[in-house]
């Protein structure tokens, strides 16, 4: 109760501050659509088996930082076990809770629960929206390479109506002009393809690179982040790379690689903002123009300088780089917000640091 009161006071202050601020005329003009508008949602995975997944909220002016917002809004209900990702469709946020075998559907601005999807869901990973439907990647039994699928969600009944079998370890999924792209990280094994789904069936498969994960659509192109084989893969470590695919023709249109002659290196998390791609290797954060010939050899900055022990999640939004440190999953994690580089602040200037939930892994923006 105390926490909520305090929060409301702070929020009122924040709104006042926001509406008085001249720098942010755009935000000031917009009426917040709920307590969690005009800020960042931080997804905290939680410890496997402990059921302590959560969502934190950080307001854009950093004056409000609230943890466990799902639980606070929804009468103390636990979000579940291992929150994997969030997908946003209009006013709704679909929170995929991997080990709870469900998707919690909430209003993205108020976090009031709307529905729970749990039929035909088995180790769900990510969701995308197209053709008025939701598409959810599922691993099935992770030990079984042959039971992976994409579940199709009816968005008016919020339930799964059909499934599309796909190759092992379907991970991220994005839509473009009614087509869906699925990266196959490979689950318990290692994949190297992107599946294309048209008319609710796999229409083609594109070989991209080792362990593809993040998918981002930029100006009609699909950018695929291939992490590279990790050291424990049978072949040993291989280089990560970014692969550009023409989203209409499914043809590979280019690659962004490490310069020749360096030891094989995996890519961490990546996020494209404007014409730049931001990514991390360990705690070092790199910035590279998407049309550059080759990836840079020196990082823009290193989050270790501010005390980050790891980078578990990274996203870029509105000139800010959001980075999360899982701190080993034994304590609550931290979020570091850096400037992405503008007239006021150079890239890597720390703007804010906050403690969130356990295992912060991803960021979603209500702005």
């Amino acid at each position: 109760m105390k926490q909520i009161k305090l929060f409301l006071t702070v929020l009122a202050g924040a709104l006042f501050f926001v509406s008085c601020s001249d720098d942010d005329a755009e935000d000031a003009a917009r009426i917040p659509l709920g307590s969690y508008d005009l800020g960042t949602l931080v997804l905290n995975e939680g410890n496997f088996g402990s059921g302590n997944a959560s969502v934190s909220y950080i307001s854009d002016d950093f004056s409000v930082n609230q943890n466990d917002i799902f639980s606070i809004v929804n009468d103390g209900a636990a979000l579940g076990d291992v929150a994997q990702s969030i997908g946003v469709n209009n006013d709704l946020a679909y929170i995929i809770v991997n080990n709870s075998q469900k998707i919690e559907v909430v209003n993205r601005y108020t976090f009031k629960k709307v529905a729970t999807i749990n039929n035909q869901i088995s180790n769900p990973r990510y969701i995308a929206f197209a053709n008025g439907k939701g598409y959810v990647t599922n691993w099935g039994d992770p030990a079984n390479p042959n039971d992976d699928y994409v579940a199709i969600v009816n968005l008016s009944t919020q339930s799964v109506t059909a499934t599309i079998p796909v190759a092992e370890g379907p991970e991220q999924i994005v839509s473009n002009n009614g087509k869906l792209f699925v990266s196959h990280s490979g689950g318990y094994n290692f994949g190297n393809t992107v599946s294309v789904i048209s008319n609710d069936a796999v229409s083609s498969t594109i070989v991209v690179g080792d362990v593809p994960k993040e998918l981002q659509i930029v100006d009609g192109n699909l950018w695929v982040t291939c992490k590279g084989f990790p050291s424990y893969a049978p072949s040993g470590t291989t280089n990560g790379k970014f692969v550009k695919i023409n989203a209409d023709t499914n043809a590979i249109a280019g690659e962004l690689k490490f310069p020749n002659g360096q030891a094989a290196m995996n890519l961490g998390n990546s996020s494209i903002s404007g014409t730049n791609i931001y990514y991390n290797i360990g705690t070092a954060v790199y910035k590279c123009a998407i049309d550059a010939p080759v990836l840079p050899t020196t990082p823009a900055f290193d989050a270790a300088a501010q005390g980050a022990a790891s980078i578990y999640g990274l996203a870029v939004n509105n000139g800010r780089i959001y980075v999360s440190d899982d701190a080993g999953f034994t304590v609550r994690g931290k979020v570091y917000v850096y400037a992405a580089g503008n007239a006021e602040f150079a890239i890597g200037v720390l703007l804010n640091r906050t403690t969130v939930g356990v295992g912060p892994s991803a960021f979603y923006f209500n702005n």
Binding site: G49, S50, G51, N52, A78, L79, G80, D81, V97, N99, S100, Q101, D141, P142, A143, N144, K227, P230, S231, Y232, A233, N266, G268, G282, S310, Y312, D326, G328, F329, T330, V331, R332, V358
Partner: protein, 608 residues
């Protein structure tokens, strides 16, 4: 190579001694295999739980020790994986010793206390504090000793115990104890099973889904006297179980887990007035299969096979000085979905020295060194002393260095295992006192422990890897109280333990997660003629679930009550009824995993 040489040397030595056997003494009536527990543990606290206490409790080792010792348990639901924490240490820092042999898993370093059926043993002892010098890896917080006595008193006794209760829980145990002057046999066969589908209290019809389990075990102890000086003993155990791993309040489960453990120990003891010479060979195997989906044919599996050869010679130099040397060779082969095929050889030598300096004062020294190719092993050493002021009071002091070696998973897990790991090691000391006044005994022990090179699995990029990180300082106090009094046809017994534990991460200066500051339990037994009432109480203090103390599991109190009546005269025909968690406490020892509310058990015991 060195280990092999050592082993050959031992064999040679053994022959010498056997040849030297001429004079002999009459061996004592009751034999146990864990010689050092009896003879080299005077300066430490050893709590014995005899067959009467074992019989009064539920059949899992978790339940027995939770209600009768200072050890704290985390259980993933009733009957599921159970991890002990002794004196604030991890589950890998408590050793389980079966008839003198360390049986902690070679794969993950711990014993799952829900995979031990207590009714298979005649005595279970809880030894607090360091024991690595005698028992090897993991005896840091303490050690649990599962023993089968062999008696050569003529007898032929059968015991059958059956119980049935809530959630279709069934328990059956048959025991045979037969002996003459030359031969002794103890056989125990147990079967436990449960649908385990208890309701989660204060929820809308949520149940413990997918929690059904069964286990079957056979335990045999066989002794044969070749002559007055030479005894052969064989101990053999098979434990097989299948558990569906239950879901939680927020996550359903379809997984299941199968265990198959076998343990065999053959031992030959030759003795005279001066020397006791024991040669042992043991073969242990452990195997598990984990199914992510119980309906599926896909599973992960690992197994480990351990061969042990051990030679133990105790030399009574004078009536007051004992010298005990032990050499052993252990070869373990691990094969698994995630560890490939790996073999590890360990040779060790141990020297124990005990001296009764004065009538009231004894002391001991001990040292152990291991030689292995798998990791760097420190020299372990210990010192203990006991001062017996009178029949009513004694004081004990003990200090030792102990360790926990890296497991097969730590060293060889594909892609993550780290072959350069060091063993965890500890320096620890304790002081204890015991007061005995008639039927009343009280003991109090204070300890301090410093553990270095803690082995933790830490995230590194996208994977978790084991590392030697962190130091822990632990200190605390334990108290044990026992009282019994017989007045005519009335008998009263009280047993109680309390532990105060501070276990601090040296870096964060915070209490470790899952270590309660306070744990208390008490048992009250009252018998009137052939009717016995008993009441058990457990208080488990709040624990933190994260290392920064930012999340907690609340404290809980659980009580069990039972009554039984013996209708037999010469033989025992006992019928009993128990109400477990009688006050219907809604509690969890792991987050989101409620334990059962009030439930009932009916039992029948026949001895003939």
């Amino acid at each position: 190579m060195t280990a092999k040489k050592l082993f050959l040397g031992v064999l040679f030595l053994m022959c010498q001694i056997v040849l030297a056997q001429q004079d002999s003494i009459v061996l004592k009536e009751i034999l146990i295999s864990d010689y050092q527990l009896k003879h080299f543990s005077d300066a430490q606290s050893v709590q014995k739980l005899n067959d009467t206490i074992i019989e009064r409790n539920q059949s899992s080792l978790t339940s027995l020790l939770n209600y009768n010792s200072v050890i704290y348990f985390k259980e993933n639901g009733l009957g599921m994986v159970s991890s002990p924490s002794f004196r604030g240490t991890t589950a890998q820092q408590t050793a389980v010793i079966w008839n003198g042999i360390n049986i902690n898993s070679q794969l993950n370093g711990q014993t799952d206390f829900n995979t031990i059926t207590t009714r298979d043993f005649s005595e279970i002892s809880v030894k607090a504090g360091g024991g690595s010098i005698i028992y090897g890896s993991s005896a840091i917080g303490g050690s649990i000793h599962l023993n089968n006595d062999l008696s050569f008193k003529k007898r032929f006794e059968n015991e059958l115990r059956l119980n049935y209760g809530s959630f279709s829980t069934f328990g059956g145990n048959y025991k045979l104890a037969a002996a003459d002057a030359k031969t002794s046999v103890n056989l125990s066969v147990s079967r436990n099973s449960s649908d385990n589908d208890y309701e989660y209290l204060n929820t809308k019809n949520l149940r413990n889904e997918n929690g059904q389990f069964y286990n079957t075990s056979v335990n045999l102890a066989f002794g044969y006297k070749l002559n007055q000086a030479n005894v052969l003993k064989l101990y053999s155990q098979v434990f097989e179980s299948e558990r569906h791993f239950s879901g939680t309040l927020v996550s359903p489960s379809r997984s299941k887990y199968q265990d198959l453990n076998t343990r065999n120990l053959l031992e030959w003891t030759a003795s005279n007035q001066v020397l006791v010479s024991t040669a042992k060979v043991a073969f242990l195997s452990e195997k598990y299969k984990y199914f992510g989906d119980f309906d599926s044919d896909h599973f992960e599996t690992s197994k480990a096979e351990t061969f042990i050869a051990k030679y133990d010679l105790n030399w009574k130099i004078t009536s007051k000085i004992n010298l005990n040397g032990i050499v052993d060779y252990t070869k373990t082969k691990g094969i698994g979905s995630n560890i490939g095929i790996e073999t590890r050889n360990i040779g060790s030598a141990v020297l124990l020295f005990k001296h009764q300096l004065l009538h009231q004062l004894e002391y001991d020294f001990s040292v152990r060194k291991e030689i292995t190719n798998a990791y760097q092993s420190p020299v372990l050493f210990g010192f203990g002393t006991k001062f017996t002021a009178s029949n009513h009071y004694n004081i004990k002091l003990n200090a030792s260095r102990n360790f926990r070696i890296p497991t097969f998973n730590d060293l060889y897990w594909q892609g993550a295992g780290n072959p350069n790991l060091k063993p965890e090691s500890s320096y620890q000391g304790e002081i204890g006192q015991e007061i005995t006044l008639g039927n009343f005994t009280i003991s109090a022990t204070a300890y301090y422990m410093k553990i270095e090179n803690l082995l933790r699995w830490m995230p590194s990029g996208n994977i978790w890897v084991p590392e030697n990180v962190g130091k822990v300082n632990s200190y605390g106090a334990e108290g044990l109280v026992n009282f019994h009094k017989k007045i005519g046809v009335h008998l009263i017994e009280v047993h109680s333990t309390y532990a105060y534990t501070v276990s601090e991460n040296e870096l964060l200066k915070k209490q470790l997660a899952y270590v309660p500051y306070h744990k208390f339990n008490a048992a009250l037994v009252y018998s009137f003629k052939k009717i016995t009432f008993n009441y058990q109480y457990l208080f488990n203090g709040q624990v933190f679930t994260l290392a920064d103390e930012s999340d907690v599991l609340k404290a809980y109190q659980v009580s069990n009550a039972g009554i039984d009546c013996n209708f037999g005269s010469k033989n025992t025909y006992k019928i009993g009824f128990q109400a477990l968690n009688i006050w219907n406490e809604n509690y969890q020892s792991m987050p989101q995993r409620p334990l059962p509310g009030r439930n009932y058990m009916l039992n029948l015991t026949l001895k003939f």
